[in-house]
């Protein structure tokens, strides 16, 4: 890490960690998790409830955070680009400084009540925490890329909502529809392939497989459970999640380095 990246990272972290909005987001998640443990009982029950919240909320918040983080800082980025440093240095300092606090917010907010109230089944916690961290990176990366592509904030926010709606809502409906309409055809492999096109679904399945509760899995999840028991299934899932994490970051970096400010 170059010294310019370290400097930018340091100040971006200070800025992000003082954000009232981040504090609010973390506190809400912490209270919600504590209440679920308080009233919900076992870790497995709580994880299922939390998972739905995490899968819907985390990508959306991360997308908006990425868009607003860049669009609100545009003039400041211009000032920094007029300093003697490379563009990639400013990008990495800004990206890590912006996303690190948000990425850690969910694991910490869930982790504190987990530690205090049940302090067991840490493998399940690790999967949920890791999944939420990946979804944060994916969302923030796409949000930043959208804000770099379009200076008009409304357009970037609109596209973020469209992507979130497609991955979090529309996708499930589409897969379910395919399963119902084409139930007489051997569409299992096609549906498995579709799953790799959605990071939210991958995190959902990876987490639910730890619970061994096939009945609670969605249609696509049930299919993957058969497949993901194998080593190749685990490897493919991990690779797909890694690619999903890298893709938006690469897009944002590429756009940042080439952009006319």
């Amino acid at each position: 890490m170059t010294s310019a990246i370290r400097v930018i990272l340091d100040f971006q972290l200070r800025h992000a960690l003082r954000s009232r909005w981040l504090l609010f987001y973390s506190t809400v998640l912490l209270i919600l998790t504590a209440l679920l443990f308080w009233f919900g009982g076992t870790a497995e029950h709580v994880v299922i409830s939390l998972l739905n919240i995490v899968l819907l909320l985390v990508p959306l918040i991360a997308l908006l955070y990425g868009v607003l983080g860049i669009s609100q800082a545009r003039e400041f980025l211009e000032l920094m680009l007029a300093q003697p440093m490379q563009r990639y240095e400013l990008f990495w300092g800004t990206f890590i400084g912006m996303t690190l606090p948000l990425t850690l917010a969910v694991p910490i907010s869930i982790g504190i009540p987990w530690l205090m109230l049940i302090h067991q089944q840490w493998g399940l916690y690790a999967t949920l925490a890791f999944g939420s961290a990946l979804l944060t990176l994916v969302g923030a990366g796409f949000g930043m890329a959208f804000a770099l592509w379009w200076e008009e904030r409304l357009r970037a926010v609109g596209l973020s909502f469209a992507l979130w709606f497609t991955l979090a809502v529309l996708y499930d409906a589409l897969v379910l529809l395919m399963g119902v309409v084409l139930h007489n055809y051997p569409v299992e492999h096609a549906l498995l392939g579709l799953m790799f096109l959605n990071p939210i679904d991958l995190v959902r399945v990876a987490t639910l497989l730890q619970l061994d509760t096939a009945a609670l899995l969605g249609y696509t999840g049930a299919l993957l459970q058969k497949f993901a028991g194998s080593t190749i299934g685990i490897l493919l899932t991990a690779t797909a999640l890694l690619l999903w994490t890298l893709l938006p970051i690469i897009l944002a970096l590429r756009s940042f380095v080439r952009k006319d400010f």
């Binding site: 010294s3 310019a4 400097v7 930018i8 100040f11 971006q12 200070r14 800025h15 992000a16 003082r18 954000s19 609100q72 800082a73 545009r74 003039e75 400041f76 211009e78 000032l79 920094m80 680009l81 007029a82 300093q83 003697p84 440093m85 490379q86 080439r258 006319d260 400010f261």
Partner: protein, 234 residues
């Protein structure tokens, strides 16, 4: 020496700069004037490396600026719309710029005093008025050991006292032989702060003259009138 060679910049179908060629010798103080969307800010952003020209090159002391970002050590920049991270304090923003430039000495102290920012240092940026942000922007630009100053509407939003301080800073830099490139819509400031006028119109240089030549050629005593008359002479 700053050289713009055949600089062309397009944004989509809109050509903002059309083959601008220009050489500025050290110690020049140039007001870049022109109507809105004439290419003033784009020209400055090209020099800073914020915007990449589609054609042409820019050289600072004979070296293309695309070779390395280190030439920006020599540039102090005041952007048109100063904006800083809202949760950082004024002192932290100053520290950030110093650390990026690897400056350890307390070079900012006299500028903080001159622009009367002592009481604002611990305040978060979100608590500052537009004028105070502009003062901070001036401190950031002038505290660095630069010999080129790129000032995009530097007087906008400043109170009369801060405006006087800013003008004095610019005058001092001119006296030291620094190069000043400045855009402004306040034409009355130009004769006091600049020796030359570069007038851009639709991305081209309409004229480039010294302030003295401009007054002489138009036989006018008022700068805004001189500009209008000079444009009519074209």
């Amino acid at each position: 020496m700053i050289e713009f060679r055949n600089l062309t910049k397009r944004f989509g179908k809109n050509t903002v700069l059309r083959g601008i060629s220009l050489a500025l010798s050290p110690g020049s103080s140039v007001a870049i004037l022109g109507p809105n969307a004439s290419g003033k800010t784009t020209l400055l952003k090209c020099l800073l490396g914020l915007t990449r020209p589609d054609e042409g090159t820019i050289l600072v002391n004979g070296v293309p600026i695309t070779d390395s970002p280190l030439y920006r050590h020599r540039i102090g920049y005041m952007p048109q719309h100063p904006h800083f991270p809202e949760n950082l304090q004024v002192a932290e923003v100053i520290e950030l710029v110093k650390r990026v430039r690897a400056i350890a000495a307390p070079i900012e102290a006299p500028y903080i005093e001159r622009f009367r920012l002592e009481t604002e240092l611990k305040k978060p940026i979100r608590a500052l008025s537009g004028g105070t942000r502009q003062k901070l922007s001036a401190v950031l630009a002038f505290m660095v050991e630069a010999d080129i100053f790129v000032l995009d509407e530097p007087t906008a939003g400043l109170d009369p006292l801060a405006l006087r301080v800013l003008k004095d800073e610019i005058q001092q830099r001119r006296a030291r032989g620094c190069t000043i490139l400045m855009t402004t819509h306040t034409l009355g400031d130009v004769p006091e702060l600049c020796d030359e006028v570069l007038f851009l119109l639709e991305g081209k240089i309409a004229f480039r003259e010294t302030v003295a030549e401009l007054f002489a050629s138009t036989n006018s005593r008022h700068f805004d009138e001189a500009i209008l008359l000079r444009l009519q002479q074209r």
